[in-house]
Amino acid sequence: MRFLFKTDYEDDIRLMPHSGYLVTYGVLLALLAVAPFVLSSYIMSQLVFVCIYATVGVGLMILTGFTGQASLGHAAFLAIGAYTAAFLQQYNVPFPVYFLAAGLLTGVVGALVGFPALRLQGIYLVIATISFAFIVEEILARWESVTHGNEGMRVKTMQVFGMAISRDSPTFYFLCLGFLILTIVGTLNLLRSPTGRAFVAIRDSETAARSMGINVSLYKVKSFAISAAITGFAGCLFAHKLSFISPEMFTLLLSIEFIIVILIGGSFSLHGAVLGAIFLVMIDPLLTYLKDDLPGMIAGVASTFGAGKESASHIQDKAAAIASANGLKGAIYGLIIVLFVLFEPLGLYGRWLKIKLFFQLFPLYKRATFKRQKIYVKSERNR
């Protein structure tokens, strides 16, 4: 086990407390840098989605994880970013300009959503953000002169300073990865400054935050704006990756996917946002694979246990019907969320910390270390 001997205030400000971090992240970065030259194009494509989802995850983490304001409307912010990019691209606006515009416009919209949300708490805020998402979805479908309605919009290949960057090229991957890293570093900077601490203070006790001189309303709006802006930037990249966008891509299910990213990853850390994104991008092909192969496997098992040929194929048909049922994906996502909240509330990253501590303390690790305690002294009265 490593004991940090702190001799300077700098030791608590530094992003990497000791040389171990430098090694770990250095190796990780090196691996990510060589990835496009080693891995197949399918996996690279998935990695780009991981980067985009993780960026949105970081954005949502700022709002939900650190400021404690739940949002089920982030698909709408992503949509606004994506459509801004697609719209401006038609008029030959260069990429850097419409990329910035996508983020800034979404940030402004986020701030506007933040204002009415100031008076709402918990479940009511969730409902308000869902309604916002539905409104945006509806506008995208109806405002045909700008969004081309349900026909959707084609997004042309990205042009940066006369150089075309195709959506499957390593350059595009590096762009997404670079933006993710930039977002993470920016967020970490924010978290070690007064603004980030104010966010956490609002999450844990609004009353106390207010009496410490924090303008709660202003900081909630700031949090909404930052979170939305990051999502808007990601939306621009998302549009380029898909090369075609239409309103039905930005539904409630996508917002729920973002919630899964931060919840499964671990709702109080940026590591969690990245882990959650990896989990989410991985689970989709896995579900598709299960959908195709599971009925056959079940039939195989059934015939092993003595089911006749006819009844085995009957079972296979039934299983296939269930597997391809409408809305099953949503149900599975719901189940995943429920199970994680019940059994691993700190998510994948929380589990990783436990495993790490187990080996650090071996053989002295106690199971009760992470036992949840109920605390009764906090009051909700003065909210």
């Binding site: 603004t195 844990d204 006790s205 009496s211 001189g213 002294v377």
Partner: protein, 252 residues
């Protein structure tokens, strides 16, 4: 003119008069205690001062400035800090970041500077940290620096709340039952610290307290409340002998 004044302060919830035309003044550098039976309106007065509730009527003055209409977050900016009866710390943060939040009213950095963590932000952070360390030393909290609040015992949290209030460098501090839930030894420490606030740091203290021995040890003056009304005011011993106070506590 008094340093801090409440004039005819009232807080009504429908027909219930939680605070009923209460007037009092706090002189600069004194320790004033508010006592009274449960439900007398002591904490409500604090919540009125820190603007968690808007008063039904009445005025509050601090340093000859009317602060009755100031938004809650500006009260701290004026130099009034407070602690809470039921501890309102930021549970899922370390003690250090809790105390740094106390420095919020002194932070001047802009959002874009913080995103880039410019050298100026770094310098500010270090300056804040130095002030926080002074408070940590003052209240003997060194061992808890990197501990999460959710894992700390009640008595320590109580002290940390005081520390957080001190980090904002207040001129007036409102202590809501500083000794509730503390054992005899911790209460003893608390009474020394409260006196030190006055003598060493020159902070004016307004406190609500049930523990009469603590009140006697530290207070310069005492106000007794019952049913939202002031029933006695004066030195600790005077107030305790006042027939109305005896009646309020023991029944007539």
């Amino acid at each position: 003119m008094s340093y801090f004044r409440a004039e005819d302060l009232s807080l009504h919830f429908g027909g219930l008069k939680a605070v009923d035309a209460v007037s009092f003044a706090v002189e600069k550098g004194e320790i004033l205690s508010i006592i009274g039976p449960n439900g007398a309106g002591k904490s409500s007065i604090f919540n009125l001062i820190s603007r968690i509730y808007p008063p039904t009527s009445g005025k509050i003055y601090f340093e000859d400035q009317d602060i009755t209409q100031q938004p809650a977050y500006e009260i701290a900016g004026l130099g009034i800090a407070r602690t809470f009866q039921n501890i309102e710390l930021f549970e899922n943060a370390t003690m250090l970041s809790n105390l740094l939040v106390g420095r919020h009213r002194h932070s001047t950095t802009q959002l874009w500077q913080e995103l880039l963590f410019l050298p100026s932000v770094r310098a500010h952070e270090k300056a804040h940290r130095r002030r926080v360390e002074q408070v940590i030393e003052f209240l003997d909290l060194e061992v808890y620096r990197d501990k999460l609040i959710s894992g700390l015992p009640y008595g320590v949290r109580k002290v940390i709340e005081l520390a957080r209030a001190l980090c904002s460098e207040p001129k007036l501090i409102l202590l809501d039952e500083p000794s509730s839930g503390l054992n005899v030894e911790e209460t003893g420490d608390m009474s020394f610290w409260i006196r030190d606030l006055k003598t060493d740091l020159g902070i004016t203290v307004l406190m609500v307290e049930h523990d009469m021995s603590l009140v006697n040890r530290v207070s310069d003056r005492v106000i007794a409340l019952n049913y939202g009304k002031v029933i006695a005011m004066g030195s600790p011993s005077e107030v305790q002998r006042h027939p109305d106070v005896v009646a309020a506590y023991l029944g007539a």
